[in-house]
């Protein structure tokens, strides 16, 4: 690593080249894998507890659907469709937990201890370095769990007697695009929140705050669309768009593409725009926060 930096500075004298981001990312990924594999039992137990958590959630929703056909009257979120929704939540959460969560935690710690100095000195984009340094491979076991849930749900959805549905290739494509959008929105929120620890010193509460805010994204957005939930619905759709994160991709896959209201297409378009906006805003927050960074040591 240090050798490659030295090599960079030599070449920089002749003609400036940036670091190869893909290569750096792969190095981070393999380093993390080596680190995870060093404590294999621990890795295994982490996977087991992730699977345990998944099973508990699946059990909880199976119990709910014992008593009711759908979540919300006429909302269309019946058991199979809701499990598509749940799988989507699992995909997005596992990716956020694998790629960004360990880094956001470390970032706050680096600010407190002054370790950020070293990150700032490296000849690479600081946000990139801070965001991807560590990957928690065990969190990807949840991704696998999500795949299992999705397979079961889609199979059941396609073969059931009443109102069967097989998603078209087009909707699968859109699903993947908006899954990525969801992950990016979550990433923007997380990096912005952890960047604020530059101003606040320590942000244990803010970190919890992230957990509690994203909690809203776990259910179909229609359930908030009544009474005193309407302000929440508006706030978490248009100001902090966490409701879009899971809802948009899950809806695209779980329901036929064709009969859609204008409002729904508007939300899909807004999700795309919101992704770009939140990335831009988080980048701005990060850069602005860095300007206020004062090293902690010496």
């Amino acid at each position: 690593m240090s050798e490659s930096i030295a090599g960079d500075s030599i070449t920089k004298e002749t003609h400036p080249v940036g670091p190869n981001y893909a290569k750096v990312f792969l190095t981070f990924a393999s380093n993390s894998l080596v680190r995870d594999m060093t404590f294999r039992v621990n890795f295994f137990l982490q996977c087991v507890s992730s699977i345990g958590w998944t099973l508990m959630n699946v059990g909880f929703y199976l119990i709910i659907f014992q008593y009711t056909g759908t979540i919300g009257e006429d909302s269309g979120w019946d058991r199979d469709k809701f499990f598509v929704f749940l799988a989507t939540t699992w995909f997005i959460n596992s990716m956020v937990q694998a790629f960004f969560m360990p880094n956001a935690q470390e970032f706050s710690e680096m600010i407190r201890t002054g370790g950020l100095d070293f990150a700032l000195l490296k000849p690479i984009d600081t946000q990139f370095l801070v965001s991807f340094r560590r990957i928690d491979w065990s969190a990807l076991s949840n991704f696998a769990a999500g795949l299992v849930i999705l397979t079961f749900a889609l199979h059941s959805l396609a073969t059931r007697a009443v109102d069967p549905m097989i998603p078209s290739l087009f909707s699968v494509g859109l699903y993947i695009v908006f899954l990525v959008c969801g992950v990016l929105m979550m990433y923007s929120l997380m990096i912005s929140l952890s960047a604020t620890s530059i101003w606040l010193g320590r942000n244990q509460t803010l970190y919890n705050f992230w957990f509690y805010i994203t909690n809203f994204s776990r259910y179909p957005m229609e359930i908030y669309d009544r009474g005193w939930g309407k302000p929440l619905y508006g706030f978490f759709t248009f100001i902090i768009p966490v409701l879009l994160v899971v809802n948009i991709p899950a809806r695209l896959l779980a329901r036929p593409i064709d009969p859609r209201t204008g409002w729904e297409w508007m939300l899909v378009g807004w999700a795309l725009l919101a992704t770009i906006l939140s990335l831009a805003i988080s980048r701005w927050v990060f850069k602005t926060a860095l300007l206020s960074y004062r090293s902690a040591s010496s």
């Binding site: 979540i71 006429d74 909302s75 509690y212």
Partner: protein, 299 residues
């Protein structure tokens, strides 16, 4: 000369009995309280935020009950739908009450703290000094909890006041309320001795953090923190009701809401007390056995 000078010196050092004990306890309690109240602002905000997931639960359960009502709506004038003996308002009240129960029974950092003290050898302090490890930890924990309630009572009162409409039955009768308080206190002690016993596993295994995580996960589910245990299907439900985890969240809330029939209540309370005694014995036994295994080196 020598007899007069040693006399006043010797007494304070060898004071025994209850007055010595009480003064030690008081000092431990006061130190821990002061330690805790330093971060009261962060505390209050954190406590208020802990209620945020309840908002999601309110909307989720409203949607669920709404769908059930729409389906059974043809039977006009029938009672509000119930699942597992809980109507919509009961359900919200249940989640609020489990927050109270968890405020008593959850022991953040207890087991991992014990395991760490075993690992880095700090535990030998308790083998030399005339204080008992479990007693010391219990007192510190009581102090932490008292400090926590002193700050958390504000947010809790606010949320319960805002949500008073969900408590359809109003306040329970005096004996039931007394049983509720007793079950909370026993829930605190069960939580303490259960987690302390798990921490003692550290005498046998060096790294217990993953194990602890799995325990926490299961306790979240089995204690009824996730949903009322009466919702579980018949077979599993009866089994889970036999486990001690329900005293950490489900049981106190069910008592308050009057979900435990009056004639069964004394028996249920007795079973809870029996579990408490069981965990005290297990914890003491594990500590005794662990100390025999333990060996400390160096200073």
């Amino acid at each position: 000369m020598s007899s007069t000078s040693t006399e006043p010196l010797a007494t304070p050092h060898h004071r025994t009995g209850w007055s010595w004990r009480l003064s030690t306890w008081w000092i431990i309690l006061r130190t821990a309280l002061e330690e805790r109240l330093v971060y009261r602002g962060d505390f209050a905000l954190g406590t208020l935020m802990r209620f945020l997931p309840i908002i999601t639960q309110i909307f989720l359960w409203y949607a669920v009950f709404d769908a059930i009502e729409a389906k059974d709506g043809s039977v006009a004038g029938s009672d509000a739908p119930q699942i597992g003996g809980f109507g919509f308002r009961d359900m919200v009240a249940y989640y609020l009450l489990t927050m109270v129960a968890r405020a008593f029974s959850s022991m953040p950092g207890l087991a991992s703290g014990i395991a760490q003290q075993i690992r880095d050898g700090e535990i030998k302090r308790y083998l030399i000094q005339p204080i008992d490890l479990i007693g010391f930890l219990l007192l510190t924990r009581i102090a932490h909890k008292l400090a926590y309630y002193a700050v958390a009572v504000g947010p809790f009162a606010l949320v319960f006041f805002l949500c008073r409409g969900y408590f359809v039955m109003g306040w329970p009768s005096a004996p039931v309320f007394f049983a509720f308080l007793a079950s909370l206190l026993m829930g605190f002690l069960i939580g303490f001795f259960l987690e302390a016993a798990i921490g003692m596993i550290g005498f046998w295994f060096l790294e217990v953090s993953s194990l602890l995580f799995i325990y926490m996960l299961f306790s979240f589910f089995l204690s009824g923190h996730m949903f009322p245990l009466t919702l579980l299907p018949e077979g599993i439900g009866t089994f889970v009701q036999f486990l001690p985890f329900k005293y950490l969240a489900y049981f106190p809330a069910a008592v308050f809401l009057g979900k435990i029939p009056d004639d069964e209540l004394p028996m249920e309370m007795a079973i809870q007390a029996a579990w408490l005694v069981f965990f005290i014995v297990v914890c003491r036994f594990a500590f005794g056995q662990g100390i025999k295994r333990y060996s400390g080196y160096g200073g």
